[in-house]
Assembly symmetry: none
């Protein structure tokens, strides 16, 4: 693999072959237009999400949330965002080989608009993939569900496109011999992997985890393929491509990001060819919510639960809380309350009645887990 080079941002001439494994500086569409048509095997795009944030958000401890308020994420309107999306998708499509595929990541703020534009332009959606975050930011005001995932769209160039790369067998082998599902579980990018600036602050507000890109490339590219990233940012795509023996092309406007990405990629050591076969994903231990026992029919609303000695009896409500006397709350809260303790494991404290007598609801949790494990919860 050749060294990382930086191309002249002022030129508009078509590029020859020296663009492989380099970062093109400049506007996304202009840079794409300089690349030869049908020249890249896959595209990974992490475009601005158009978050439309309004005012500050504080945590319960009054600290301020460091929001994404960069200029590049501000658009006048949905129409402006749509026009931007259409333009870069069109330019990207020209560059993509007929058998190539494209990945686009987004959140609910933008992904629906992006997906609709992709379909309008003739891209053929193969899957939507959910990146479930192990450690998402909470919802601090308690007014919505915790936004715990992002969505990726995987599409071929058009409906009739054949021969795209999908390493089905390798993915299956890496997933306990089960075919890989459309929901993936990864932590967000933190720790040593997260690039920092000279002040120790995060260099880029939306750096993606390398594991995510590795899964994508292992699934939909072959060694030696060319991966294009039109919103290169901190260069995760380039770092993973180099490590996995793929070529990359990045496009990025900001010099600070380009410099950091070049340095980052230069430090990457490619894997030995023999190690490129299978990369395994991480599994999390399944957590069972009490309400899922109700969902599964293992517990019925209105049922009574007891402690082991039947000193207390509490009623299950449809919302998944327990009620006893005047108070209601989670199985843990109510268990603690009746005992006058600060904390209590409701799973082992509360019991349900069955033929032989009382059994802890933890048994029901075990049963529920059997179903969840199949889903890799």
């Amino acid at each position: 693999m050749s060294a990382v080079r930086l191309l002249d941002e002022l030129s508009h001439a078509p590029l020859k072959s020296e663009w492989l494994d380099t970062i093109l500086k400049g506007d996304c569409v202009a840079a794409l237009d300089r690349l030869p048509e049908k020249s890249v095997d896959i595209i990974f795009a992490d475009p601005p999400y158009n978050l439309q944030l309004d005012g500050d958000l504080h945590r319960p401890d009054q600290s301020k949330v460091d929001a994404v308020d960069d200029d590049w994420d501000r658009f006048e309107s949905f129409e402006a965002y749509d026009a931007f999306t259409r333009a870069w998708l069109l330019a990207a499509r020209r560059v993509l080989k007929p058998s190539g595929t494209i990945w686009v990541i987004g959140s609910y703020h933008n992904i629906f608009r992006v997906g609709a534009r992709m379909q309008d332009l003739g891209f053929w959606i193969l899957n939507d993939i959910v990146w479930r975050k192990t450690n998402p930011m909470p919802n601090f005001r308690g007014r919505r569900f915790q936004n715990a995932h992002e969505t990726m769209i995987w599409a071929s160039r058009d409906q009739k496109a054949k021969g795209y790369t999908f390493n089905y067998e390798a993915l299956k082998a890496s997933n306990d011999d089960l075919q890989m599902r459309s929901d993936w579980l990864f932590p967000i990018c933190t720790g040593g992997e997260r690039l920092k600036d000279e002040n120790g602050n995060k260099l880029h507000p939306t750096q993606k985890p390398e594991a995510l890109l590795a899964r994508i490339m292992m699934a939909s590219t072959k060694p030696g393929d060319v991966v294009l990233d039109p919103f290169f940012g901190s260069g995760t795509t380039g770092a993973v491509a180099k490590r996995l023996g793929r070529h990359f092309v990045g496009i990025e406007r900001e010099q600070a990001y380009i410099d950091a990405a070049n340095e980052r990629i230069a430090a990457v050591r490619p894997l030995e060819e023999a190690d490129l076969t299978v990369l395994s994903g991480k599994r999390a231990e399944p957590r069972v919510a009490f309400i899922s026992l109700i969902d599964n029919g293992l517990v019925v609303p209105g049922a009574t639960l007891y402690d082991a000695k039947k000193r207390w009896a509490a009623k299950v409500r449809a919302d998944g809380t327990l009620a006893i006397g005047g108070s209601a709350g989670s199985i843990h809260k109510i268990g603690a309350e009746v005992q006058g303790l600060d904390a209590c494991n409701g799973w082992t404290f509360w019991h349900y009645e069955r033929s032989g007598g009382l059994s802890p609801i933890d048994e029901l949790r075990r049963i529920a887990r059997l179903g969840m494990e199949r889903a890799g919860a």
Copy 2:
């Protein structure tokens, strides 16, 4: 809850009040237009997915997969599907209360188009929710990832809409005291829950699991609310609404589905009202003004309040304000000021001296609330 009734499909006159807990037969938009505006609390919509299936799909054992190939799932083009989507969303929006919310479920075939149209019409997305299936159909050809989830969009009527129902505390209590995430795990609808026709075949190709609808209603409705489902199908929404003490309105074109849904809903026994109580948090507690503690004699003018570590001491004045140094104001303002913060909860920050040491004035608020309850305030 009144019995299920079937309304005349030919009439176009506006409906009076007899539409509650009934299924309206006919075209979705025409039926919506007959309902009063701003009359339903939430909408759950499971529109046609526009699957665009092309030819038959066979399992490895050569058996044919029973695909969704009904007429109602066929559209000429994306444009036709968009027009259909826009029309029913617009009609649904008129019927929704200003503080109401809407849920729409779909797959990658249609959800991006639906989501974009929703944004175009002014709906404000609150979350996208991923339904992860424990038992999805495998991908038989091994050319894509196993399509193991569907996506739901939860949105308010418009950006400024306030006061929508979200039972945050109940959801959290039912989930091991962790806030509910945007990825949910449920099995697909099978077994006894799945409606069968006279030949023992599935009655409806896309019957949704009741647990999914129960989670939705427990999250975003109160008992007695009205739930509208403009694509009623086999009536899952009605069955769950009745069981959970909510009203429903269904719209459906096919008589066979209407008949099956009516029969199904008639067999549902509602839960006891006591089991339907929704856990509410501090936000729902009655307001207590700090000065009422003085009125009640729980705090005496001239008393000194401290923070937990006695770093600051402030004096209570007869008008219900706190004074410290040169400044005076509410318990919250002064608490924030001494800490140099923008905001502060004075009830938990300030403490009063008693025999055992310091106690937060929030304790006094609780005592005051008990008095208010006795007085029926």
